[in-house]
Amino acid sequence: MSACCSSTDNWPELERGYRAMLPEDILAFIDENRQMDRSESMLIATLHMIQGHYGHLGPGHLEAVAQLMQVPLAKVTGVATFYHYFRLQPRGKYLINVCLGTACYVKGAEKVAQKLMDELGIRYGETSKDGIFSLESTRCVGTCGLAPVIMIGDEVHGPLTPGQVPTLLDSYLARAAEDLAAASAPEAR
């Protein structure tokens, strides 16, 4: 269904709509790749960029990618669902990734995970009501020497005990509150 679209009469209009769904840098990336041989091999890289920008891949994003890269939507969806790293649901401000790799598992990662769930009142794949935290699990973030570890956003924390979880969460809550204050009082900056 994709290659046909560029020849339909209303393609410019459709294209404008799809382009409006993605930020400039990603559009530039797609345009540049389309000049290359085997441009479809850049699909995964494109999805990474979108997730990096929006935090997840929404249905609209997938369709826009399919149309603009001229790749079947079924393939885009297939790839997005095959790879665990891609998230199809929006997530909270901070994504907590509990490492459930071997080193962390034998060092008691499950207890840390349980404590996180108790504190946040959510399970894997869910987002806290205030929209601040989402909880996911991952298999080894490569810092096994510090096991058990969790990742919050890009930051690795470990070795952690369940007892340290509340303070750690509080520090992120404080950060979120600061950001909020800064955003609502821009003149202070």
Binding site: I44, Y83, T102, G145, L146
Partner: protein, 726 residues
Amino acid sequence: MSRPVPDFYQSLTDLAGKAIKDRDLGNKITIQVGSATCEHAAGSQVIAEEFLRQIRASGRKDIVIHRTGCTGRCSREPIVSVQVPGRLPVKYERVNRDLVFRIFSEHIQGDAPVTKHILDRTSDVISERELMFCEGSRCRRPGPDFRARFIAMLKERAVGPEKVRVVASSCFGSCGVSGGKASTFILARPEKILYQISSEEDLTELLESHVLLGLPVERLKAKEEPIALEFLERYGDVAFFNHQSRIALRNAGVVDPESLEEYVALDGFKALSEALDRRDPDWIISELTKARLRGRGGGGFSTGTKWGLARKQADTTRFIICNGDEGDPGAFMDRSMLESDPFNIVEGMIIGGYAIGAQRGFFYIRAEYPLAIKRIQLAIDHCRAHGLLGKDIMGSGFDFDLEIRLGAGAFVCGEETALIRSIEGERGQPKVRPPYPTDRGLWGHPTCINNVETFANVSAILRYSGDWYARIGTERSGGTKVFALAGKVVHTGLVEVPLGTTLSKVVNDIGGGVSGGKQLKAIQTGGPAGGFIPASMQDMEVDFEPLQKAGSIMGSGGMIVLSEDDCMVDIAKFYMAFSQEESCGKCTPCREGTTRILEILERITLGKGQPEDLDKLHRLSRLCQRTSLCGLGRAAPNPVLSSIKHFRDEYLAHIHDKHCPAKKCVALIHYEIIAEKCIGCTVCARNCPVECISGARKEAHVIDQQACIKCGNCFDVCKFAAIDRV
């Protein structure tokens, strides 16, 4: 005849030499701070900033901060090293803000090291010099041991530890270079002189001249410097490091991973320049073959052979790929190498590209490693800007370029055919082999895929020769292997040892043994595709074949230490859950087999195992091994089979007695308060998530077994050992 490549290399080293000289480090105090994922997690960035502030406040111009990657001493991060010219470097462990202040004021300003916080401190004395005696097998000789003799001599002359310290070290790799003569190598620090000693007279001269007068003994100097000289110079006194032999990791924790100049100053790109200057790709392949370098990604296939196969193809559009997917959950060697010495991996890839006649190469790196991705991209950019990538590399006429492709969290994409599809932008599902990638790989063209560590060894082999590398390992496998040591072990981190080293040496001598004073139960190698080596077999030598014979595999280098507290059925279940979740679902034996095996293991750990379950596990495992399409399914049953093989009793206890000997399986245990021991402090009751502990203050508490969810909190928090797990 003009020789463009050596000329190019000369100008590159001039450039690097000048940049290094301008920094004038020889007259400055260097504060070295690690910067890799582990270090950042431990707070090294804050530490570096704090030092910077201190330096600025002091107004001193003779102090600099040097950023390096990861040394691999994970559990002691952040590590900071203070190097004063002419002195042995002093390293501190677990540095925090307060310690920064103390190090700066007491050590740097006041010249009195903060001895209490020295890394792996063994004594408070800071020695003037250090002599490292090689204890490697090829430096051992009949007759009296040189080190013991030297220590006796020091005693006779009453030379104390403030003057010189004597350390035992693992193979420097120098035996392969200077070979032949029955001699022992000794590295003198901080002078960085390698001596080769063959008699008692040599030893005496070393003592009288070098140690007592500070005059190097020219006559005894070895012909070549050991490959890891700079590493040993910085870390040679620490037992965790001097029991290792670093080749792949020689620059980790030494070089600034974002500086091309520093890499070049450490002989970087010398191997590439020689390879390009010779104009003979077959020479590269023959050196690798002589080196007996076997793929470090797990399979152990000869790298020389693989490259030779790709080179012979009629199709001249060829690709080379670095597999940085590092899927084994519990392994981090590849991440560390990519983050700590990225130029070395890039150099290995360019050499590989030249050897097989490729025009393009790809790094496939998992998205979970953002710092590794950033550093490799930086290295690629630097190389392009300096004529080391792109058109006419080093003036040789060879055109080659590299780019990065990201993984996206699928373990199966570490498998080579799946990885190729992923680079092509497809779902990463494996394909039937043959055809092998060396025949028809990426976009149908001949492709070589190698592991990060495999590439990390290439430049070293070309510089020191294949024969040298081969001599360090065993008869069947040359060189060293890097292990990511983790789990219930005192010192977690990266360990590089010659192949053929015993497991016990890795776990006990380097790793410091099992943590918490517990008994060693087993060592897991190879991750979800591997198996367990029971404690009784810990004297086994690590190499591909012995591990396989014992029911495990070498794998990519994950090594998890398990203690008496770990339940083998539970761990086998853990791996099976991993494989089941990661199965791509393409073929039935793997998809269904792993699911069924997992169900049975779950049943057993829940205390619902049936007598015939062991047979069933065997049958399903065999089926899965024999009929799965790719390595994931074929290897997935390994942890189950090897745990049954070595720990059958544990399975039987679960199945017949409904008992978990390690007291790990939640369904088979419960918690009880021992009334006589309980003082009624109420701590347990306050920490119970379901509030099922009752009792008045200062009176014995009781657990309501019906309501208890067996989370174990009470057991962990009771300070009076009044709670029993039965």
